[in-house]
């Protein structure tokens, strides 16, 4: 019998249906012949060139952003009216904060009472975030003998020489007059945080601005006479620990309607508000150190 060497596909199929033949599965499908890299290269070269890609990306970005804005605008149009007194946001929580805030926290500035008494752990977390950020920047940018090249050291020396040569008398005089006033104003804002607008964060930022002004006019060397890296770490860590201990103490004695031995004082006086004043001072010092630390690390790479 003269069997055909090659059966047709149909014949194969019929045999397979009849159970006379098993389908030969190719053991390994090899993709080696198809060079995907080549296809991709050609695709990028002829069809999807850099310019077209850029334009496509731009158009898609604009489209996505427009759709995003449109969705958000639609949401805004469904929000409660701006400035309305009966909005769902001003609920019983707000009523409690405002009506019994002065009595319960001793601070006449209700926002300060809120963030440093009712929600003090939140503020503790914020201070920790700041501390972590400055520690990360120290890790990334602080210069030591391992990550400085000869050229950088030479440039720094040149900078110092230029700093010494030019005497901006007016600038230096004015800045030296202004810096102490900035410190004083910052200290005022920190100390009066619980009875007037302000508080640890804004006052600390003002003190930090004063430090930055002083350092930028008088140079880092003069700054290091009273503000070294050790001072920086010491202040930050001490303030965070103080905050932690004070607030932990008040949490166990003042919260949950347990009696708190720290007197609230007369609302409106400087020494009032229980723990709010020391906490404000801690936060202010952390913020001032952090802001100056950012400046020093970004400009010179050392504190």
């Amino acid at each position: 019998m003269n069997e055909p060497k090659k059966k047709s596909t149909w014949r194969h199929f019929v045999d397979w249906v009849n159970g006379e033949e098993a389908i030969e599965v190719p053991k390994k499908i090899s993709f080696k012949k198809i060079d995907f890299n080549k296809i991709k290269e050609n695709f990028e070269k002829y069809i999807w060139s850099g310019r077209k890609k850029a334009i496509f990306y731009l158009v898609m970005c604009a489209f996505v952003c427009t759709v995003f804005i449109a969705i958000l605008l639609h949401t805004v149009s469904a929000l409660p009216y701006f400035g309305g007194g009966n909005n769902p946001a001003s609920n019983e929580v707000v009523q409690r904060y405002i009506e019994s805030g002065v009595e319960e926290t001793g601070a006449t500035n209700i926002v300060a009472g809120m963030i440093l008494d009712y929600r003090a752990f939140d503020t503790f977390g914020e201070s920790n975030v700041l501390f972590l950020a400055v520690i990360c920047v120290v890790m990334l940018l602080k210069k030591d003998k391992y990550n400085t090249t000869q050229q950088e050291i030479r440039e720094e020396k040149e900078d110092e020489m230029f700093d010494k040569e030019d005497d901006n008398t007016i600038l230096k005089r004015i800045a030296n007059l202004l810096a102490p006033m900035l410190f004083l104003f910052g200290i005022y804002v920190v100390l009066n945080g619980h009875i007037s607008p302000g508080g640890g964060f804004s006052g600390g930022a003002i003190i930090g601005a004063g430090l930055v002004l002083y350092a930028s006019v008088n140079g880092q060397q003069n700054m290091q006479r009273f503000f070294k890296y050790k001072t920086f770490v010491l202040i930050n860590v001490t303030c965070l620990l103080t905050y932690c201990i004070l607030k932990g103490y008040s949490f166990f004695t003042g919260a949950n309607h347990l009696p708190n031995i720290i007197p609230k004082g007369i609302p409106g006086a400087l020494f009032s508000g229980g723990l709010i004043l020391p906490l404000n001072i801690c936060v202010g010092m952390i913020v001032a150190c952090t802001i100056y630390g950012f400046y020093a690390l970004f400009t010179k790479g050392e504190i």
Partner: protein
């Protein structure tokens, strides 16, 4: 649409957010990217401040000799939240700019595409 006109602060905040987002996506310069991120942060502050405002009421500071009632003051909760937002945004900005400075020192460029290309070459 009339609602959008009354909520114009929120609408402006949302548009500002979109602008910041677009800046974040489109600019190649890393520092400009982070400027876009900061614009988005600012939009969020504006939105929160607008949500906390109540027409005709004062900032929540109880003056001497007055009694505190809800009818007098605006909502203090968004103010506290904005404070949190500012702190976190400052921290994130400082951290990312430090990373950018390290990248610039290593690759000598702020262009993201260039940095990626150089990093790929170094990898092989």
């Amino acid at each position: 649409m009339t609602n959008l006109m009354t909520n114009h602060y929120e609408a402006a905040a949302v548009i500002l957010f979109g602008i910041g987002f677009m800046n974040l996506l489109l600019s190649r310069n890393l520092i400009k990217k982070f400027i876009g991120l900061n614009i988005m942060d600012t939009a969020v502050y504006l939105f929160l401040a607008a949500k906390g405002y109540i027409a005709g009421r004062a900032a929540p500071i109880v003056l001497e000799g007055t009694t505190a009632s809800v009818e007098k003051f605006i909502n203090p909760v968004p103010s506290g939240l904005v404070l949190t937002g500012i702190v976190v945004s400052v921290s994130v900005t400082a951290f990312s700019l430090a990373l950018v400075q390290r990248l610039y020192k290593h690759y000598g460029s702020l262009d993201l595409d260039e940095i990626m290309e150089k990093a790929k070459k170094e990898g092989h």
